[in-house]
């Protein structure tokens, strides 16, 4: 079902007020793959994602979706191709899961159009894909953190976009739920071909789940490419200012970063 879309950033400069957060950034998101953006706190990861989803207008440069500038596209048209799950969305008090997921249909509805069968199918498929169908009548307030995050992803799925941007979808989740969410996103990528771009905090999970890793340091692109090439001891030092040892993860064959602090290191 998924058409492939190109998403590119060219000579992008972003900032708030006097502060420049991203400088002259160029990058290309590989279509139909999972891309993870990593970097130290305040390196501009989330700012970049906000700009890619048109929440923040660039000072200079462009964000191009299929060659068109996202900041000049009609809002609803963009929202049918590119979806966004921000870091802390608000669940209105007492809202039910099905109501929340249904709101993802907004870009597909006109001002006066009624709820359609197509909307029903999209919502049902989204609940199904995220294993939240049995929660449909529950209030979002009652759910656990992991369930709630799956519901938010279901909402983003109901939007039926071919490109999905997620800002730290695993923050505040314990490790089992982090893996559950990333597995779910991988399912979507594999079954629907959805292009996924996410900001991730955890370098090792990013290296494991992403096909393409983007490492930012101080608002600039440090490295981008296959995780095996990007996640190196040099990158970790440059991006996080941390000495580390990178080994091959015996369970996945992907790179695994072991931090070297000042204590408890015997090598």
């Amino acid at each position: 079902m998924t058409a492939t879309h190109s998403l590119e950033v060219s000579s992008l400069e972003l900032g708030y007020g006097d502060r420049t957060v991203i400088e002259s950034l160029d990058l290309t998101v590989p279509p139909g793959r999972i891309t993870a953006i990593v970097g130290a706190n305040a390196c501009g990861k989330s700012t970049l994602l906000r700009s890619m989803s048109r929440l923040l207008a660039p000072r200079t440069g462009h964000v191009l979706l299929d060659g068109r500038e996202v900041h000049k596209m009609p809002a609803k048209e963009l929202a049918r191709t590119l979806g966004l799950l921000p870091q802390s969305p608000i669940a209105p008090e007492g809202i039910t899961v099905s109501d929340l997921v249904g709101r993802g249909r907004n870009p597909h509805q006109r001002l006066l159009s009624r709820w359609s069968r197509e909307d029903d199918i999209a919502v049902a498929a989204a609940l199904d894909a995220t294993h939240t169908a049995d929660l449909a009548d529950r209030s979002v307030d009652e759910l656990s953190g992991g369930q709630r995050q799956r519901v938010w992803i279901a909402m983003a799925l109901a939007q039926q976009t071919d490109v999905l941007l997620l800002d730290e979808p695993t923050t505040f989740l314990d490790v089992s739920h982090q893996v559950e969410v990333l597995d779910l996103l991988t399912d979507l990528n594999q079954t629907r071909g959805t292009t996924i771009v996410m900001v991730l905090h955890d370098l090792n999970l990013a290296a494991r789940y992403a096909d393409h890793l983007i490492a930012l340091a101080d608002g600039k692109l440090h490295a981008a490419g296959d995780p095996a090439e990007v996640l190196t001891e040099d990158t970790v030092r440059a991006v996080f200012g941390l000495d580390s040892q990178v080994i091959t993860d015996p369970t996945s064959g992907k790179p695994l970063m072991l931090p070297l602090g000042r204590h408890h290191v015997t090598v």
Binding site: A79, T96, R117, A125, A136
Partner: protein
């Protein structure tokens, strides 16, 4: 996990249960409003029998009872229309600001409309009802923007409590300005006092006709904002991600609410708390979807204000208590309840 799109639609039990509950509550609301409208023409300093009500509604005024009915019809209609406007405006304001304490009275919007009308009368000699309405809408709009700006100052933006405090403070300031204008003018002070408390007693078909067009536009604009408000409720970032132009959507919805507040204040005075209580009650009954919540808030607002007017006429016979006092008696404890609930948070 193959072919996600061909998965079946959830079973009927899952989808229809809330819809049936919703239909029941809507029917109950309509019936209640109908009964209250009948009560409103029947009760007052004189209780009118059914036969006279029927005759009165058909335009006869052959005896005192029928004459009372004829006089009470515009009053009833005004209570219905103003109540609907305030209930809807409250629901829209709570949606626009994501603030459970938003209400045209609490945020000072109605008081701003009042001050504008008073200033117009005292300083510029306005006398036409249409002029009052324009001025009231302008006053409501300026106050809404000002209160929101003051409430957004400082850390954390427009939190519920900051916005309510800003509204209360600005309301108090506006109220004293109004007194300063009115007190020296004994010629307008008495009539003004009742208007200032908020009442529908002075209703006429003229006031309905003049406010009508403004209210109609206000109703249409507000109701059309329902989908945007559903998206805005999820936070500005997500709303934008769902294809909403956030600032525009918020501005349009606020404009609808301001039209409703301004026009209803111009004809009935600044009635507080209807816009606060009604949306909370409606959310409990029919849920959070604004496409249902907004029209239902209008319906329940109409019923509440009509009920308040009937009660005000019955409890102190042969005197009357203005609806503004009755709604404050209902609304003030409710306001305290919401503030004291464990989590006052953004909607």
């Amino acid at each position: 996990m193959t072919q996600l799109d061909s998965r079946p639609v959830p079973g009927p039990a899952l989808q229809r249960r809330p819809a049936r509950v919703r239909t029941l509550w809507i029917l109950a609301g309509l019936v209640a409003l109908g009964l209250l409208m009948i009560a409103s023409v029947a009760f007052g300093s004189r209780i009118v029998p059914w036969s006279d009500i029927v005759a009165g509604v058909q335009g006869h005024d052959d005896n005192l009872g029928q004459a009372a009915v004829v006089k009470r019809i515009p009053r009833t209609l005004l209570a219905v229309v103003v109540g609907a406007a305030l209930g809807l405006a409250g629901a829209v304001m709570q949606g626009v600001t994501r603030n459970p304490l938003a209400d045209p009275g609490i945020l000072g919007v109605n008081m701003g409309a009042s001050l504008a009308v008073v200033t117009g009368i005292v300083s510029f000699g306005l006398s036409s009802a249409t002029a009052y309405i324009w001025v009231a809408i302008l006053g409501a709009a300026v106050t809404a923007v000002f209160v929101y700006a003051v409430g957004s100052l400082g850390r954390g933006g427009a939190t519920p409590l900051k916005l309510a405090l800003a509204g209360a403070a600005i309301s108090a300031a506006l109220a004293s300005l109004i007194s300063a204008f009115v007190l020296p003018r004994s010629d307008i002070a008495t009539g003004f006092q009742s208007w200032q408390i908020g009442g529908v007693g002075g209703a006429s078909y003229d006031s309905l006709r003049q406010a009508g067009p403004f209210l109609v536009v206000g109703f249409v604009v507000s109701l059309l904002s329902a989908k945007s408000l559903n998206s805005l409720a999820l936070g500005d970032d997500l709303a934008a991600g769902l294809g909403e132009r956030v600032a525009l959507a918020r501005g349009v919805a606020a404009l609808g609410a301001v039209l409703l507040c301004g026009a209803s204040t111009a004809v009935a005075g600044p009635i507080a708390f209807v816009g606060l209580v009604v949306p909370h009650l409606c959310r409990l009954l029919i849920g959070l979807d604004h496409r249902w919540l907004l029209p239902y808030s209008a319906l329940v607002g109409a019923a509440l204000l009509t009920a308040a007017d009937v009660v005000g006429r019955v409890v102190a016979r042969p005197q009357e208590i203005d609806v503004g006092i009755i709604t404050a008696l209902i609304g003030a404890p409710f306001f305290i309840y919401i503030v004291r609930r464990q989590k006052v948070r953004e909607l």
